[in-house]
């Protein structure tokens, strides 16, 4: 490949608005791929050589991650549907089939944002239990004021939606694999990544729907 040609095309690309690239069907798309390829290479070679392999594996992308990155979390309708169907198929349930657990356990899990931080500067201690970190993005119990707003409020989730089997299953499925309902949502796929076990998810479901849970009571 000619370096000057690439440079010139890139300069041109840089002057276009971001979306123009995705809409151009043929020529521009292949140039865009060149940028992505280079960028991907630069990204991957930017990590310390002494990161263990099982840390580096975290950079791998499944289809959903790859497509969401490519479309900047806004895939066209058809693709969106395809992603959602494929993600739905990943959902696994607890062996006893019970989708609702103990809300008190769920509250602890929802409050903790610990676990999973790696690297050499400030990693979590090995075996730190992982939390669901729901408060990073959602309002839940009224008494917890330190909640984030990346996701919608879930205060009174059960009070508003009830605790029917359908709602319980929806809450379970959503936490297990958020992309089953909303392709490329900002919400993590907790079950798919084994971040939370199916049993832990049932506790969080209880925290959301149980009438005694502070999510619904106050």
């Amino acid at each position: 490949m000619h370096k000057t040609l690439i440079a010139a095309t890139l300069a041109l690309l840089a002057s276009l608005p971001a979306h123009a690239q995705e809409r151009t069907p043929s020529g521009a798309a292949s140039v865009k791929n060149d940028v992505s390829k280079q960028a991907e290479q630069i990204f991957r070679s930017s990590f310390r050589g002494d990161n263990p392999k099982f840390w580096m594996d975290r950079l791998e992308q499944d289809d959903a991650m790859r497509l969401c990155s490519q479309y900047r979390d806004n895939p066209p309708a058809k693709l969106r549907q395809k992603i959602e169907l494929a993600q739905k198929a990943t959902i696994r349930y607890p062996v006893d089939g019970k989708l609702i657990g103990d809300w008190k356990e769920g509250e602890k899990l929802a409050s903790s944002g610990r676990g999973g931080h790696i690297g050499f500067i400030q990693p979590d201690a090995p075996m730190t239990p992982r939390g669901g970190n729901c408060y990073a993005c959602h309002q839940l119990a009224k008494k917890e004021v330190a909640y984030g707003t990346i996701g919608p409020t879930l205060h009174h989730f059960g009070k508003l939606r009830g605790a029917s089997d359908d709602i319980i299953k929806y809450a379970y499925d959503k936490i297990y694999n958020s992309n089953a309902f909303t392709a490329c949502t900002n919400m993590p796929r907790f079950g798919l990544h084994n971040w939370l076990t199916p049993e832990q998810i049932t506790h969080i479901v209880a925290f959301l729907v149980d009438p005694e849970s502070p999510v619904n009571k106050d």
Binding site: D73, G119, Q122, A146
Partner: protein, 268 residues
């Protein structure tokens, strides 16, 4: 100085009102803010230390950094930080303030790169020359507009690479920079997250670095900020001065261009 102290007071009051009710470490936080208010922005001490380091003959070549070219010519620091990262013909690389500074410490002073970068960020009891020097260089752009048009083809390429990384999702939480910093008016827990894809959001974020972080009791450079965000994304650890961290800065500085620098900053 007076205006800055007032701004500090206002921010401190706000932060206290917001987090006092909520965080476990509230008492720590209050103690740190008290300390900070008594002394003004502790970053000013780093600025002074950085100036002394800049002017002092050091290293195997016993030279100062006064001939270091941060992009505007040897020794010309006024406004240099606000125009970084940029392409440097002598190294044929796009460099940010930190990679250029290290380049000067190696080429002018004769230090080994691994030696000068060993302490690229401070730990309790271990100060970092780089943090002090970057604070000094940054302060020389205070009041000036961020200006990174990324017109050179290599700069344009790095801006595109940075943009690509910004939207790249991976890891056990499916995170990208964009999920935390791609929308207006969001916060995570109580921390406000600007929209770094807009001039306003990127401007607020980029104009206030390097910054004294009260919660950490330390001065942080932009490399430190971005490497820590990758930790929050649950990714492995990037190399200090690596191209993806520089590429992200080109992308963000380009978005922020036109915003007036207010540095050194002070933050939560």
């Amino acid at each position: 100085m007076r205006a800055r102290l007032q701004a500090v007071l206002a921010t401190a009051a706000l932060v206290l009102a917001g987090s006092a009710l909520a965080q476990d470490s509230t008492m720590d936080e209050i103690a740190k803010y008290r300390e900070m208010l008594a002394d003004g922005n502790p970053a000013e001490l780093f600025e002074l230390k950085g100036e002394a380091l800049w002017k002092k003959a050091r290293g195997p070549k016993n030279a100062s950094l006064e001939q270091c070219d941060m992009g505007l010519g040897p020794g010309k620091l006024d406004g240099a930080y606000a125009q970084l990262p940029r392409y440097f013909p002598d190294t044929r690389k796009v460099m940010d303030v930190e990679s250029r500074l290290v380049h000067c410490m190696v080429s002018l002073q004769g230090f080994k790169e691994e030696d000068v970068t060993r302490q690229w960020f401070s730990r309790p009891g271990k100060e970092s020359d780089i943090e002090a020097l970057v604070t000094y260089i940054g302060a020389k752009s205070n009041g000036m507009k961020i200006d990174v048009p990324a017109r050179h083809p290599e700069e344009a390429r790095m801006a595109k690479v940075g943009e690509y990384i910004f939207y790249r999702r991976s890891g056990p939480q499916d995170f990208s920079c964009s999920i935390c910093h791609g929308q207006n008016d969001k916060r995570i827990r109580l921390q406000d997250l600007g929209n770094l894809t807009t001039q306003a959001g990127a401007g607020v974020a980029m104009s206030t670095w390097p910054s004294y972080r009260v919660s950490q009791g330390a001065m942080w450079t932009m490399q430190r900020r971005l490497i820590d965000c990758m930790r929050q994304a649950r990714w492995p650890e990037p190399k200090y001065l690596s191209d993806s961290v520089i590429a992200l800065q080109v992308y963000l500085q380009k978005n922020a261009s036109g915003t007036v620098m207010q540095t050194p900053g002070i933050k939560r």
